[in-house]
């Protein structure tokens, strides 16, 4: 009887130790994953911010200004404003 009791305690003890080690290892893994996801999230945020910046740059007037100068766009095609209304109204003289 005593031997059965001792073996049961030992068994529980061993299971508890193994369980603890398993939980500890899995918690380490989870911690690593949390850490890694945190870093990835931050990297994505950085990349997102960088892309937003590049997008804003591309849409900016400053970019258009450079584009305009490179292509001589405005010099080649002078827009006709409403000083000459016939163009706006598309009428023939």
């Amino acid at each position: 009887m005593k031997s059965l009791y001792q073996r049961t305690v030992l068994g529980i003890f061993i299971v508890a130790v193994i369980g603890n080690i398993a939980i500890f290892i899995s918690s380490m893994k989870l911690s690593s994953e949390i850490h890694s996801f945190d870093q990835k999230t931050f990297a994505l945020k950085q990349e997102n911010t960088q892309l937003q910046k590049e997008m804003a740059d591309t849409e900016s007037f400053l970019h258009a200004e450079v584009f305009k100068k490179n292509w001589g766009f405005f010099r080649a095609s002078q827009p006709v404003y409403i000083g000459e209304l016939k163009y706006a109204l598309n009428t023939r003289q």
Binding site: T49, Q52, F61, G83
Partner: protein, 549 residues
């Protein structure tokens, strides 16, 4: 039994070591806990600013702070040389930062990602980077005074200064979060330990009423105008007169918000809301409108302009000292007759005149949502002398801000409603908060407003100056030229030239105020501020697809 005892003793020994270690950490050296328990502030992302069409005006970017751990640097000369080439900084300036007695030293702020990547490729020991959030302006200073800038307070925390950044600082800043976590020796969180996290609440994004295209156009035209007329400063405001949404606001000279610290403090002042000036003749239509509203005058009321008017010891003349005899009050506006306005004032009476000025909101804040607004200056009623009532009719003896002026003028062309000016139309956070136009009070009736629009159209069509305005389109407006009071008298050589105009006449879509300070080529508003306005209006008519009238 012996084995079990050994096991028991073994456990007791291990347990004692753990208890002793805990005693050592928790009782003898509680400060060591900080090595394991880390508390970190999570900074929220500051809200961004967009124009009314969602085009970015102010964004965020991540820059880097480069730091050294001098004791880990192996080859100082190589490190300094390489960094100097990549960062375009003098070698001496970097070298002076390497203090071998220190464990850590900051080298440079504002390092870009490109520069950081280039430095990392060198794989030099003893240096690292910390992220720094900062503001980014894709169109540089396009709306410097409107947007404001972000500086630091005494605690080194980012704070919005001036403009929308200052006014909406709390909304833009958001709320910081907190992370408390037990870390292992490699700095990774221990899942079974303390893990508390309060996420930060990012700042709200602001969608302004400004249209970036109109803003760009206005700034370009104003800049060209100031250069052409050799003026010291200038401002232009374009608004929707029906709602008082500001569509563009530009004051020059301005500054680059990216490098605001390189500029003199004086350029941070947004003259459109912070500076006061005498409105001069642009004030006349406001008084005329109230006179018509009270029924004491009509646009075709006859007035005998037979010479200067004496008020006490003062003599009031027309701007060119010419007098036309019997003229209508519409003509009074066309030729901008000061003596005609004195007549209008006398018909209204002093009480009514003073009350009218208050009704338009002069002497009080418009409460525009920008930081740094001034209230203008209106003398207390008890110190008004008869001459003050006379000069007030043509905009002298009182000081107003440009934003007050355009707000008041809008009310006489939008059907008589005084509206609160504003620059933020939406706040985007977890929810979207829309800002609706705010009606303050009615100052004149719609009927009077319609009459005023016709009179202001006539002022442009039949005024002293013929403007280069687009054919087929109708523009109403009024010029103003105010001398600058210096030490109790007016300096005739220094003027503030203004023009305030709108189009189309039937249902105005935009109103614009142009102010040119101390122009040298001509002192008159009709020859400086007005051409700038017409240049802007010509393009706005195309932009807003206004039909010919």
């Amino acid at each position: 039994m012996t084995k079990l005892r050994l096991l028991l003793f073994g456990f007791l020994a291990v347990f004692s070591i753990v208890v002793l270690r805990l005693f050592f950490i928790q009782v003898l050296h509680p400060d060591l806990q900080q090595d394991y328990l880390s508390t970190r502030k999570l900074n929220p992302e500051r809200g961004k600013l967009f124009d009314r069409n969602g085009q970015p005006i102010v964004m965020n970017q991540i820059l880097y702070k480069l730091y050294f751990e001098p004791q880990l640097i192996l080859d100082k000369e190589k490190t300094v040389y390489s960094l100097s080439k990549i960062l375009h900084v003098e070698e001496a300036s970097i070298s002076s930062r390497i203090d071998l007695t220190k464990k850590w030293t900051s080298v440079m702020n504002g390092v870009s990602k490109k520069e950081k990547d280039a430095i990392l490729q060198l794989k030099l020991p003893g240096m690292g980077f910390d992220e720094q959030w900062s503001r980014y302006y894709p169109d540089a200073s396009i709306a410097a005074h409107l947007a404001g800038f972000v500086g630091k307070n005494d605690d080194g925390i980012d704070v919005g200064r001036s403009g929308a950044e200052g006014f909406y600082d709390k909304d833009l800043a958001g709320l910081p979060g907190l992370i408390r976590s037990d870390l292992d020796l490699q700095g990774r969180p221990i899942f079974l330990g303390t893990q508390e996290r309060i996420d930060p609440e990012n700042g709200r994004d602001l969608y302004l009423t400004i249209d970036k295209s109109v803003q760009m156009l206005v700034k370009e035209k104003l800049s060209a105008g100031l250069q052409k007329f050799e003026a010291k400063e200038g401002c232009a405001i374009i608004a929707n007169p029906n709602t008082m949404e500001l569509l563009a606001l530009s004051c020059l000279p301005d500054y680059d918000p990216d490098t605001y610290y390189k500029f003199d403090n004086s350029v941070f002042r947004n003259a459109a809301i912070s500076d006061v000036y005498e409105p001069g003749s642009t004030f006349k239509p406001l008084i005329m409108a109230r006179g018509i509203e009270q029924g004491v005058i009509k646009p075709d009321t006859q007035f005998n302009e037979d010479g200067p008017v004496k008020v006490g010891e003062y003599t009031i003349r027309t701007w060119n000292n010419s007098y036309e005899g019997h003229i209508t009050l519409t003509r009074v506006l066309e030729k901008s007759s000061n003596v005609g306005m004195v007549f209008v004032g006398s018909k209204m009476g002093n009480d009514s005149l003073y009350n009218s000025i208050l009704q338009y909101g002069f002497g009080e804040y418009t409460n525009v949502d920008l930081e740094g607004e001034a209230s203008g200056f209106l003398k207390p009623r008890k110190v008004w002398y008869p001459i003050d009532y006379s000069t007030a009719t043509f905009g002298q003896g009182l000081a107003v801000t440009p934003i007050q002026m355009i707000t008041a003028f809008s009310s006489i062309i939008n059907g008589g409603k005084l509206m609160k000016p504003y620059v933020v139309k939406e706040l985007h956070g977890e929810t979207i908060k829309k800002v609706e136009p705010i009606f303050i009070r009615r100052v004149i009736s719609k009927k009077t407003s319609d009459l005023m629009k016709k009179m202001l159209l006539s002022t442009i069509e039949n005024g002293e100056t013929k403007y280069l305005k687009p054919r087929g389109y109708q523009i109403g407006g009024k010029t103003g030229t105010a001398q600058i009071p210096i030490e109790g008298h007016y300096d005739a050589t220094k003027t503030i030239a203004t023009f305030i105009g709108f189009s189309p006449i039937k249902n105005p879509q935009f109103i614009g105020l142009v102010i040119v300070k101390e122009p040298k080529t001509s002192q008159w508003g009709s020859e400086t501020a007005a051409p700038i306005f017409f240049d802007i209006a010509k393009e706005l008519i195309v932009y807003y697809n206004v039909a010919p009238e």
